[in-house]
């Protein structure tokens, strides 16, 4: 692995002298910029982000309580054709995810039909027993999905993770675009870039559409508070949607109805876009020690008086053990072949797969089925002997907690580094909205880039950065206001 040069999204496999078709103007822009000018703009971007307070906190890292995520000003660009294929695949996948969740908390047909083993769903720590049988308005559970995609070739995209709980990062999509418009305005003259700024409005419409009542719904964004690593994003979104940013202590439940405390008295709440995990939602049902949630919230939800976005229990769809069955799940509910394939996945709960994993640890990426953020993960090719042996022991002890995947040659995008422009590996997280009227996807997303040479780990908590993601409008097409499917 990593012997062969990875696919570069600008230069293809050409080395670095012939840009891929559709990307000539990006290459021209890049070659026109002097190194000094690039550096100047890069620094201006950093200063702007810090002064706006766009920071994130890393858990357990006191020193860096507020860091800014490094931003690279060289954009990652998708052609209109690439985007059309991607968004069709995303729409199909998220449609299937919602049908799957609706099914496993309802009729459980997929289990009866033995498409996936029942114990992997019903015995899963992410299966939320208290919501079984409760159907949210319009049967939508995963209103917001941040599907992580990786790429290995011109048409080879793979889904790496279906983030169906509380995906974050969308504020970077919007702020990165703001920064690019300010710092590289000439790029937008040269390229027909689809705008992304309608996202907050579309999100608000999505929230409104799934309200349990009629008329103007009162929507709020529930945050764990300003010490949370994603608080900036919470406040940014609430602000841009024009809804209240609330903490658990701002809400109370009375007679199965949710209220928020304001300076003029209490106001009824219809839709809660929560950015806290299920476990903290309601101390009466989940973790009793949680001070972040609202006592009685689940009762109000089960009584149908409030919509929770995403619904409690969606974690079942982004469990990594379930993930390995996603191709079957897509086929089962849509009757279509999956347009976006999975990364090949070995379920270590199966003896054959475990043996293969143990025999090939040096080549594989091993992940906890319920891990996230790049923690609890082994990247075989770059791991030390000790790390590999530690994982071997952990795998043998609890194989059912792990999956393994081949190390992919993630695509690269030219990136500004200390030693000039160099290819760096990237992944991509588009944000897929599902409301009462179906799926909407803003043409863009969050591109994360592994800034260290050769590194494949793009997580912001592990030294990753971000880039703007351009989607080019189809030639002779008027850029759409956003939307697909």
């Amino acid at each position: 692995m990593a012997k062969k040069r990875a696919f570069d999204e600008l230069w293809g496999d050409s080395g670095d002298r012939t840009p891929r078709p559709d990307f000539e103007s990006v290459a021209a822009w890049l070659s026109d910029l002097s190194a000094a000018e690039l550096l100047r703009r890069q620094q201006a971007a950093e200063a702007a982000f810090r002064s706006l307070g766009i920071t994130f906190a890393v858990y357990g890292d006191e020193e860096a309580a507020e860091r800014i995520i490094p931003f690279d000003i060289i954009p990652r660009v998708f052609s209109a054709r690439e985007w059309a294929n991607l968004s069709a695949g995303l729409e199909q996948r998220v449609r299937a995810i919602n049908l799957f969740i609706d099914d496993v908390y309802g009729a459980r047909k997929i289990l009866a039909d033995k498409v996936i083993p029942a114990d992997i769903v019903l015995g899963n720590s992410q299966y939320c027993i208290p919501v079984a049988g409760a159907r949210p308005p319009h049967g939508v559970y995963a209103h917001i999905c941040g599907i992580d995609l990786v790429r290995t070739g011109p048409d080879d995209f793979f889904v790496l993770e279906d983030n169906a709980r509380t995906p974050s990062g969308v504020s970077y999509m919007l702020e990165n675009r703001e920064a690019m418009l300010r710092l590289c305005p000439e790029l937008f003259d040269a390229l027909p870039v689809e705008p992304v700024d309608s996202y907050p409005e579309l999100l608000r419409e999505t929230l409104q559409s799934v309200s349990p009542g009629r008329g103007d719904a009162c929507c709020v964004l529930l945050t764990p508070g300003h010490f949370n690593s994603a608080f900036y994003e919470h406040s940014f979104l609430a602000d841009n949607m024009g809804i209240e940013l609330v903490e658990g202590s701002d809400l109370e439940v009375d007679d199965d109805q949710v209220w928020m405390r304001t300076i003029h008295g209490r106001l009824k709440v219809d839709v809660i876009y929560r950015r806290i995990d299920d476990a903290f939602l309601d101390p009466l049902v989940f973790r009793p020690d949680s001070a972040l949630g609202v006592p009685g919230l689940m009762a109000a939800y089960l009584a149908g008086n409030v919509t929770i976005v995403n619904a409690p229990g969606t974690g079942i769809a982004d469990d990594k053990a379930i993930y390995s069955y996603m191709p079957e799940i897509v086929r089962y509910y849509t009757g279509e072949e999956p347009k976006l394939p999975n990364v090949e996945t070995f379920r270590c709960r199966e003896p054959g797969a475990l043996q293969y994993t143990l025999d090939n640890l040096e080549q594989l990426v091993v992940k906890l089925v319920d891990g996230s953020g790049g923690y609890g993960m082994l990247v075989g090719p770059t791991a030390s002997k000790q790390e590999i042996e530690d994982f071997r022991a952990a795998l043998k002890a609890e194989p059912q907690r792990y999956i393994a995947q081949p190390t992919l040659a993630l695509s690269t995008v030219p990136t500004f580094t200390d030693s000039g422009l160099a290819p760096r590996h990237v992944d991509f997280r588009p944000f897929v909205l599902t409301g009462s009227e179906g799926v909407t996807i803003v043409p863009g997303g969050l591109t994360r880039v592994a800034l260290r040479e050769g590194s494949l780990v793009v997580n912001s908590s592990q030294g990753g950065g971000t880039k703007d993601s351009f989607v080019l409008a189809a030639e002779d097409a008027v850029p759409s206001p956003g939307g697909a499917g």
Partner: protein, 311 residues
């Protein structure tokens, strides 16, 4: 608006005002200390500690008493909740929590003030201290400017209310210290030290020129007291702060059609001040009167918290 957000905004107003007051206090004390001999310089810093109620907590640190140590304690000490650094940290924490209710300009001014002082561990020499105070004051003025240009919304309103309550408290404490901790027995009233003290006091509330406009003749203690208590032209006077509080509260009540206990307390306080003359206060004892004022101000603060459900 959420009650919690309103509370955050109110405390942003209070802490930004407190930070500004502290920077002026440090600045003026540096000047005053430079005018006197060693003993007078120490005296100046001792009184600065008393004004912000930090004399005891400074002693508790076990640090030796020296102008440089007090200067550091008032500017940077994280263990001193009233240091400029702590005030800005608290203001910024509240601003982070109420980010959506602030304009970008307001937030940026608070954040920039914080970034200026965040990484300082030593105040440096006297000149460096003065430079630091200058740059901080510029950002705090930027915040006030941004606040005044903000939409006349509940958000701006709560910050202004917090600032008005804090301003009254600061001025009262400053006057109190001047009269009862600063006048050394035996020192001739009206002597050189005294005059320097008085001009310093006016500097702290940035009113040296204003005083000259309103009063002719030499600086007189009772006139300064009258000036800082009664004159509405002087924005940091007790009457002006009390009046601003009443105006803000009734503006809010007019807009939303409801009044509460805080409105009544604030009006009563203003009426009491309006009925008084400086001679009454002198007879009654300025110290006692100022303490009563500080207590009333705290009671009003509590009434505001209850009325808008801050807790």
């Amino acid at each position: 608006m959420l009650s919690r957000t309103a509370a955050h905004l109110y405390w942003i107003g209070r802490y930004m005002e407190r930070a500004e007051f502290a920077t002026r206090l440090i600045e003026a004390t540096i000047r005053l200390a430079a005018l006197g001999d060693h003993e007078e310089s120490e005296q100046a810093w001792r009184s600065a500690l008393s004004v912000v109620g930090a004399a005891q907590s400074f002693r508790a640190t076990g640090e030796s008493f020296s102008p440089a140590n007090v200067r550091r304690y008032l500017t940077l000490a994280t263990e001193n909740p009233g240091s400029v650094r702590s005030c800005l940290a608290t203001a910024r924490d509240n601003a982070r929590a109420a980010r959506t209710a602030l304009t970008v300009e307001c937030w940026e001014a608070i954040n920039r003030a914080w970034l200026i002082i965040r990484d300082r561990t030593k105040p440096g020499g006297v000149q460096q201290s003065l430079n630091l105070m200058d740059s901080l004051k510029a950002e705090i003025r930027g915040f006030e400017g941004a606040l005044n240009r903000m939409l006349r919304s509940e958000g701006a309103w709560f910050m202004q209310l917090g600032a008005a309550i804090e301003r009254g408290d600061n001025t009262a404490r400053l006057l109190d210290v001047k009269y009862y901790l600063l006048l050394p027995p035996g020192q001739e009233v009206g002597g050189a030290l005294d005059r320097d003290q008085w001009s310093t006091l006016l500097q702290i509330v940035s009113a040296k020129t204003a005083y000259r406009h309103l009063y002719s003749g030499p600086l007189k203690p009772w006139r300064v007291a009258e000036f800082l208590i009664f004159r509405n032209e002087m924005p940091r006077s007790l009457a002006a702060s009390a009046g601003e509080t009443v105006d803000l509260l009734s503006d809010f009540a007019n807009r939303f059609g409801r009044q509460g206990p805080a409105d009544r307390l604030a009006r009563k306080r203003l009426d009491r001040i309006a009925a008084l003359r400086i001679t009454h206060i002198v007879q009654e004892g300025l110290h006692e009167w100022l303490h009563a004022y500080i207590r009333d101000n705290a009671a009003l603060d509590q009434a505001i918290a209850r009325q808008f459900r801050f807790a």
